[in-house]
Symmetry: C2
Subunit: 506 residues, 2 copies
Amino acid sequence: MKDINIKILDNIKKKYNCNYEFYNKDKKNKLNKNKSKIVSSIKEAIIKSGLKDNMTISFHHHFRHGDYTAEQVMEVIDQLNIKNLTITASSFTKSHDCFVKYIKKGIIIGLEGSALRGKLGDAISEGILNKPTIIRSHGGRARAIKNGECQIDVAFLSASSSDEMGNANGVIGQSCVGSLGYPIVDAQYAKKVIILTDTLVTFPNNPISISQIYVDYVVIVDKIGDNSKISSNEIHSTFNPKEIQIAKNIVKVIENTSYFKNGFSFQTGTGGASQASLMILKDIMIKKNIKASFFLGGIIKPQVDLLKMGLVEKLLDVQSFDLEAIQSIKDNKNHIEISASFYADGLCKSCAVNKLNFGILSALEIDINFNCNVLTGANGYIRGASGGHSDVAFGSDISIVALPLIRGRIPTITKKVQTIVTPGYDIDIVVTDIGIAVNPIRKDLIQNFKEKNINLISIENMQKIAYSITSEPDEIEYDKNKIVSLVEYRDGTLIDVIYKIKPFVL
Amino acid sequence: MKDINIKILDNIKKKYNCNYEFYNKDKKNKLNKNKSKIVSSIKEAIIKSGLKDNMTISFHHHFRHGDYTAEQVMEVIDQLNIKNLTITASSFTKSHDCFVKYIKKGIIIGLEGSALRGKLGDAISEGILNKPTIIRSHGGRARAIKNGECQIDVAFLSASSSDEMGNANGVIGQSCVGSLGYPIVDAQYAKKVIILTDTLVTFPNNPISISQIYVDYVVIVDKIGDNSKISSNEIHSTFNPKEIQIAKNIVKVIENTSYFKNGFSFQTGTGGASQASLMILKDIMIKKNIKASFFLGGIIKPQVDLLKMGLVEKLLDVQSFDLEAIQSIKDNKNHIEISASFYADGLCKSCAVNKLNFGILSALEIDINFNCNVLTGANGYIRGASGGHSDVAFGSDISIVALPLIRGRIPTITKKVQTIVTPGYDIDIVVTDIGIAVNPIRKDLIQNFKEKNINLISIENMQKIAYSITSEPDEIEYDKNKIVSLVEYRDGTLIDVIYKIKPFVL
């Protein structure tokens, strides 16, 4: 360094409010010269991460019911006697049933995620936790992580492959999951990030779904998950007559709107009717020579088929829902991995749901004000997922809730849903096996369908017909002194709460 | 929403320190429902961005001497009478000569970047700005943007293609630049991001180098740049005998270290000797059946050739330096775009330079303490680039500065460099046309070369030989009352300053 004119430099510092230290070769050790982040075990990673009582950790759920990571990590946390953790996950599946045990041991004191199901959902519904769980949509979770409402101390992120620096993806390795859409956000904002993989590859791994610039440690484990369990009974491949009828009504809606033209876009769920609608739509697209620009969301085989046939240009995949989707995102450059933020964060500079023409959604129940419950079942227990429901409903030009009028012996169109996850204001159309109801606020659509001689039925009539068959369902008995879940809307406001189930007494 | 038990909810809020507002459909307008970000002109984008006096704006320099964006934007800023701007760019090239005019008009009051050259470099050297420019390495700039030392109010980022939401890349369109490695960082951290493109594509554009989640506005302009000017005279394709001799010495160093084996990694500059060394190395790699794992940095045709030949597995490309590199990153999935953070940010969780075995660097001069000057020319004027110099020197296992002993009539090995950009501590080897000097702190390398009977020469002897030919260069006369540039080391400390050139008086 030159002989610095310190007076001049001090003037500069003062005037431009910069506070330079001088270069010092011995202080450079704060610079990172890391050449490998591999640690020998989950235990070592946890110790090095500084995880301690009362912190928040995160997981993703791309393996769905085949996840092996959360349990492996929780076992070690238990061994290390770390307590009072809050867990935020993109969702909870049956793979997380083991969490009940760790709740009982005081290791887990809070849960935040998109869904609760199985034994964990039951235990939460019955009030096992003092701290209410927080239910967020996929977009809402990305938002909360980004703006700091959900601060992750240590993210435990499984990846199908990683190099020693933590460049990771879901498309190479013995346990491929396809898109790593959800943990991309965790990795970016968590204080410490641990990649767990069963397939170490040489540096540099690519594609780079999670970048080394965010990763602290890499742990090699025997197996991160079983991808054959990604596609579960929630993903259908055969359809019953009721589903076919609903699917036909979905397609009737779609093809009779002005949005159904070359370049249209579409998101569908994994429910039977949604999938069947895609197959019917395919034939119409071929007949009318209409091609879609993109399909969005969780991606399934029927969508991959349309990509291969050239009927849709691109797939934007936040979660690959079956092995065909996993293979496709690996092979086809127009099958694109997107993050949860890109998918649905309503408070980032824009998200993909805004570009949807049609959003086909499912629901456990919907009421005459079009409010949707996708969380609590007929017995009041939590058994569903917020998912992208409210995100897609808000963003798409036409949001369609498709469901059977009666499921089991239970009416799905009700006077008032138990739990509001998606506000009726954002639902445009309800399609059931008995017909199509349009939200009265969509006067444009009502007029459109009238001109096209499409019969509509009011949602109130749908509800009455349903009740006439099933009779009015009994009210669920809740213990209103105990809130077990706070249901966040995608903007972070509170849209509903779920109370503790009242014990059934004979 | 259910009838909420407010007392219970208030207890929850208090206990868990959460402060929920209730969902309100009329307040949802803060949620983003943006379906297109296209604005009609640069002017409209600037007005909407809220750009005003005293703010900081940014550009990238991927078009190098063929950039049309900065001038187009500055013209409109001038029309709008916005003053006192600081400009941070990944670098400044001849395309930014026009900035001199805007400095004189009081529109630009500060510059931050990796390089100054041409008329702008001359004007800065002569003291045209009151506020000292800040010179940062590529990694240092990424660090400063991330940690907020360099806060960008509005980023003006040209991209070869974009869709209407701002998903942008450098590989599709009429003006392809290849990697968009530098502006990826600007986009992520700038308050407002404006994409300028001459090729609008249908949503969703891919690959997604810059994501819509960071973009505010998209402007379509006639032409963003001339990519035929990316490859300038700084990128050689023929070599003089001196360069060949230096190249041979570089290769002699490389092939006689333990790092030269299957899976080795390498970064080279665009100087003639560096490029020639790559060609010589190629033949040795073929002969010895050695393959490299990756080449890093600015990517040029000779590296693309090795990728095609299977002699290197992957290219990590922060900046595509010629049309062949641009075509390759478009076509070859193992030619990977990386951000400036991934490349070289020494304070993120890790960067790629740390994984380099060999970093081949150039320099304007290097002194007997191995300190490197890559900024100020023999006449004291700023005419060079910090670039990735100090990043690569720090990260690589063996950093090699390769340069001719004498350039023009000027010795390059000096007693003391004018300006330290990279500290001698991080330089391991100096290679010139007359031999190889090893930094005495690398006793391991000295021992290694001794065992292999490689002749070494001391840096002091190199300097003496140089001076014996050219005589000792005169000291540059600076005005030490005026600092024109602050030179930051990659960790953000001040490693040197550049004084104003003293006017030459006969």
